[in-house]
């Protein structure tokens, strides 16, 4: 396993993404809520550049106690990575697909030290 330099801390703006190439692997490093997340930039569906899409919060249907539909809302505590090819969605926190837990993005550890951001590849 090698430690690959991604950037100096702060070079990726909040909500931004940097795609790095480590050997033959493309990795998307996402900064969200002050934290860094790193996933292989490869959607398990059809191989799309999954880290290059938008991040969107989970959408919820709000159902009243009498079971009538009220409206939809965002769950901002559950941010999703959305693949730009087909909009397959994955939880930002762990890379697991929101529809099928067996499908997941390849996750890399992110290390912050000495004012820089690294991924373990």
């Amino acid at each position: 396993m090698s430690e690959v330099l991604v950037c100096k801390d702060g070079e990726i703006v909040e909500g931004g993404v940097r795609v790095i190439t480590a050997g033959e692997v493309e990795i998307g490093v996402i900064r969200h809520g002050g934290k860094y997340y790193a996933y292989r930039n490869h959607c398990p569906h059809q191989g799309g550049p999954v880290c290059e899409g938008v991040r969107m919060p989970a959408v919820l249907d709000i159902i009243a106690p009498d079971r009538t539909f009220l409206q939809q809302d965002y769950d901002k505590n559950d941010m999703h990575i959305v693949c730009p090819w087909h909009a397959y969605e994955f939880h930002l926190e762990d890379g697991v697909n929101v529809c099928d837990k067996r499908i997941r993005l390849q996750k890399f550890n992110v290390v912050e030290k000495n004012g820089a951001v690294y991924v373990n590849v």
Partner: protein
């Protein structure tokens, strides 16, 4: 000479007070100031303030859809007001509008070849996008005029200049004479490989008024395509759906189920035995369903459809189908059976549907574990070559790559 008082309309900017200055004169002359006047039906254009209004939509998801789609003619409240790109989750539609292209060839040629080369596609059959709903326009003459304009524009500006691009041209189905004329006028043009029934049309494809059009297509050895699409506003059944996923899943499949059923129940394959038909963009799962359903009915009611000399599914197995959007979520066994039921090795044609949101790459076929190498090649290209009588055109990128490989091996 004294200067006259004048206004130069060529340079004067619009001003409501100027437009209504005569109304102001009337108001003064009639001494409206003597009494109260109330206007109980006055309008403004709320669309001018839509950006502000959407901030007041309480449902945040709806607010975002409105922000993304706008309020105009195809906006969130319009009949076809879909949100295919999932409120910005699929970002290539606005993205490509800003993509830079050289002045020549035509931008459509450059952009199409870019994605074709990326995916490894040699030849593509082009279809329009919003025109898939043109058949629902209440003005039939508008449909006919636009169909002729589009077809002629495509033939002259795109197909004539790029041998890798072809099309099966749009038929304005509510104007049967115009359909026939379309085949006569454009059937022999370069790149035209057939004609298309865009499926959300409220006409029976068996109607005698179309017989000469089908005959004209058949005589030219061209192909008749049925291209799936949806309608939403204005369609009683579709209006029962409140999410686009429902409209799309049902609509794209339903209209081809409808036309296929009518095509068979009126014995069209027997009446036009050399007319090849291709059924596009309905996925594959509908075909085994309809085969079983129609065969079952036919065994009991063959007297009603005496032209059919064999089971409906036997005719369906002789037709062609496009792959996309191929249903392939945890269903390998069902998919394999579907391929078997439709004679996929000879009848299935790969399609990407790019750049639409549910596009499929060639790898969706190439990576299927139950297909032989020959079957993959047939589905990815060989079957289409046969169905559309395509010439031996290959992509420049692939030719170059092949030459490099050959040189390296020499």
């Amino acid at each position: 000479m004294d200067t006259v008082n004048y206004r130069d309309l060529a340079v004067e900017s619009f001003d409501t007070k100027t437009l209504l200055s005569h109304a102001a004169q009337q108001a003064a002359q009639r001494r409206y100031e003597d009494f109260l006047i109330v206007d109980v039906d006055a309008h403004h254009y709320e669309t001018d303030s839509f950006a502000e209004i959407i901030g007041y939509i309480e449902d945040p998801i709806m607010r975002e859809q409105a922000q993304y789609q706008g309020f105009g003619r195809t906006g969130i409240a319009s009949g076809p007001g879909s949100y295919q790109n999932l409120a910005g989750r699929v970002g290539r539609y606005p993205g490509v509008q800003k993509e830079k292209t050289p002045p020549t060839p035509h931008r459509d040629i450059t952009l199409t070849k870019r994605w074709m080369d990326a995916m490894g596609i040699d030849i593509a059959c082009m279809f329009p996008t919003p025109m898939l709903q043109l058949g629902t326009c209440p003005r039939i003459d508008v449909e006919t005029a636009l169909a002729r304009a589009y077809n002629r524009w495509l033939v002259e500006n795109v197909l004539a200049h790029e041998p890798r691009l072809h099309s099966t041209l749009y038929l304005p189905m509510r104007d049967p004479e115009a359909c026939y004329k379309m085949v006569q006028d454009f059937g022999d043009k370069k790149g035209v490989i057939g004609f298309t029934v865009v499926s959300p049309v409220k006409t029976g494809v068996y109607d005698n008024v179309y017989a000469k059009t089908w005959r004209a297509i058949e005589e030219r050895n061209l192909t008749l395509v049925f291209h799936g699409a949806y309608t939403w506003g204005g369609d009683q059944q579709a209006e029962l759906c409140n999410r686009f996923m429902a409209v799309h899943a049902l609509g794209f499949t339903w209209f081809n189920i409808l036309h296929m059923t009518n095509w068979l129940c009126n014995g069209m394959p027997e009446r036009f035995p050399n007319l090849r038909t291709v059924w596009i963009e309905s996925g594959l799962a509908w075909i085994p369903f309809l085969m079983q359903r129609l065969d079952n009915e036919w065994m009991m009611r063959s007297s009603e459809v005496p032209l059919l000399k064999k089971k409906p599914s036997d005719y369906m197995r002789e037709m062609y189908y496009s792959t996309q959007p191929m249903e392939m979520v945890n269903n390998r066994e069902a998919l394999e059976l579907t391929f078997k039921m439709i004679n996929a090795e000879t009848q299935l044609l790969y399609s990407s549907d790019y750049p639409h949101w549910d596009m499929d790459l060639p790898s969706t076929i190439y990576d299927l574990p139950f297909l032989s190498e020959q079957a993959k090649r047939n589905i990815l290209g060989g079957n289409a070559k046969r169905a559309f009588n395509l010439g031996p055109v290959v992509s420049e990128v692939k030719s170059r790559r092949l030459a490099e490989r050959n040189n390296a091996n020499a």
